[in-house]
Amino acid sequence: MTPAPSSPQNDLTRTLNRHAEGFAELGGSSLDLDQVLARAGEIRRGRRLRASLVMAAVVVAVAVPIGITNLVGGNNATDPAAPATHGPTLPDRPSPTTTKARSSSNPLLSRIPLGAKPDHSYVELGVMHDVDGTTQQLPAGATDRLSGITPYLGGYLVAGAETDTVTLYDGSGKVVKSGSGPGFFVTTSDGVETAYVMDGRLYSNPGSGMASGDGAVGPISPNARLIGYLQGGVLYATGQHDADGTPQLALSGGSIGRDLDGFTSVNATDDSDDLVAGISDPAGTGRGVGRVVSLRTHQTVWSSPDWDPVSFSYDGKYVAATALDTDDTTQVAILDAATGQVVATTNLGAKGFDTTDTAFDDSDNLLVIAQQRGDGKEAILRLSRNGTLDRATAVVGGLQTDYQTPLIIPAGPQ
């Protein structure tokens, strides 16, 4: 057989095939069905154990449980390492007390000065921390790789990435309904409206209060990705792409013009029904540039080869962004939404951290989930507009918390 001509692509295919075969022939062992079933049992037991305890805990639920939500509350500046814990603690995960003890040996995150708690409720190790200092265990189904949580109709919506399920709980922790759906919730910045997808239908309804009904909007592709509220509707990517790879966008209850043409992905909308942020590839080179467009002026407000704009601040004046030229998004910035100029930035990777998500705490501060390389300990950091970086929560987690949820899940546009 004539070998494929040398080209980068062919070289890659040849190299990967050789090393895959080398692995199979010399090092790659067959997996035993027993081992797979044992792993499945571990996963299942972990879910069940947490589920049984969690459901008891939810009965004594306090207030409205939320992740990082846009429900601004009072700022309790007490040491977040010692929260008031009212819910029971699961035996197979560290309690806030034990995590506090472990965190004392943390060499990196702990060096970042501890500041005030977030102005939002947050989730760590499967426990929701409300702004008033109370805590509540997450409900069943939300303990493995939680991907979204948000207040809804007096209860809350929970999405599990592991199972691609969305579950609506009432305020007492009882399951109202559950179905398949992506873990994307979008919420207006005032917390009034929340949208989600379940079993191929889009729902949009007041996120707080006790409104009647569930705000069904209509059918939607199960592959749809919600982006944000826009002009009274919900902007979403349909999951379909044009022939050139451009994602198809749709607006529930309305239509979008040509302003969003050219985006290869759309990340966020602001609350003024004007600005939309995402990535464009104007030169068709495969290299994206960050871009913000105005639907009012039909103009590109700014574009940047350096930053990927991911969410707007609640007043629409700022944009959270991650670096485009690094793959692991460890460089985070607050940009001026009108100009794209950097207001404040921090390179978490250079400090030894990975990051999994960001969310504005208020318009002056950006919360960043930082995960310490090496031991996996986590904390929420706060980047302020003046450039300071402090720590908003205790350092928790680590290697002992495999099979647990991530530290914190924002509930706003993601």
Partner: protein, 182 residues
């Protein structure tokens, strides 16, 4: 074995189906896992977890058109999730010895060896795109579905990966086509 699977709630025909599917597909999953992780033990752990999750979801996914695509997506998700990062960190901490696999002597090729080292050093998502596109031979759209990103992201990640590899290999005169772009 079927007894164990039945005890876990799986019907006998479903258990037999899963066992048969796993027997046929695990090697491919293992190889992909190895290319993603670059480490024998991490690859086995990753594939084992992915298979376990396919097993737990078997009733739901076996009716789908492509169990293979589902399994590949689980594998990628597991690899790129924060949980996986934690797990790999633990592997590094508890055992610092190399788990790389030597290519058979008759297969040794300095070019592919250098290229493999460069691929292993790619950032996680770029490496995943490279493996899906050039080992699994997925189209851009298929890779986008596997990674749950847009086709544009696949294009940009692939382009960045090639640029990174060019930058690292461009000085080698035995690698035609890898000259770094000016």
């Amino acid at each position: 074995m079927l007894t164990t699977m039945r005890e876990q709630g799986m019907t006998e025909p479903a258990a037999a189906d899963f066992e048969s599917w796993m027997s046929a597909r695990q090697h491919r999953l293992l190889r992909t896992a190895y290319l993603l992780t670059g480490d024998v033990h991490a690859a086995e752990d990753l594939a084992q977890t992915a298979l376990a999750k396919v097993y737990l979801a078997w009733d739901r996914v076996s009716a789908a058109q492509s169990v293979d695509a589902y399994a590949r997506r689980i594998l990628i998700n597991e690899h790129t999730s924060a949980w996986r990062r934690l797990w790999r960190h633990r592997e590094v901490i508890t055992d610092t010895s190399s788990h790389d696999v030597p290519v058979p002597a008759e297969e040794y090729d300095g070019v592919t060896d250098a290229l493999w080292e460069a691929v292993r050093s790619l950032p996680e998502r770029q490496r995943a795109v490279v493996v899906l596109r050039y080992y699994e031979q997925l189209s851009e759209r298929e890779a986008a579905e596997a990674l749950a990103v847009s086709v544009g992201t696949i294009k940009s990640q692939s382009s960045r990966a090639l640029d990174t590899l060019r930058a690292r290999l461009g000085s080698r005169t035995d690698l035609a086509g890898w000259e770094a772009h000016s």
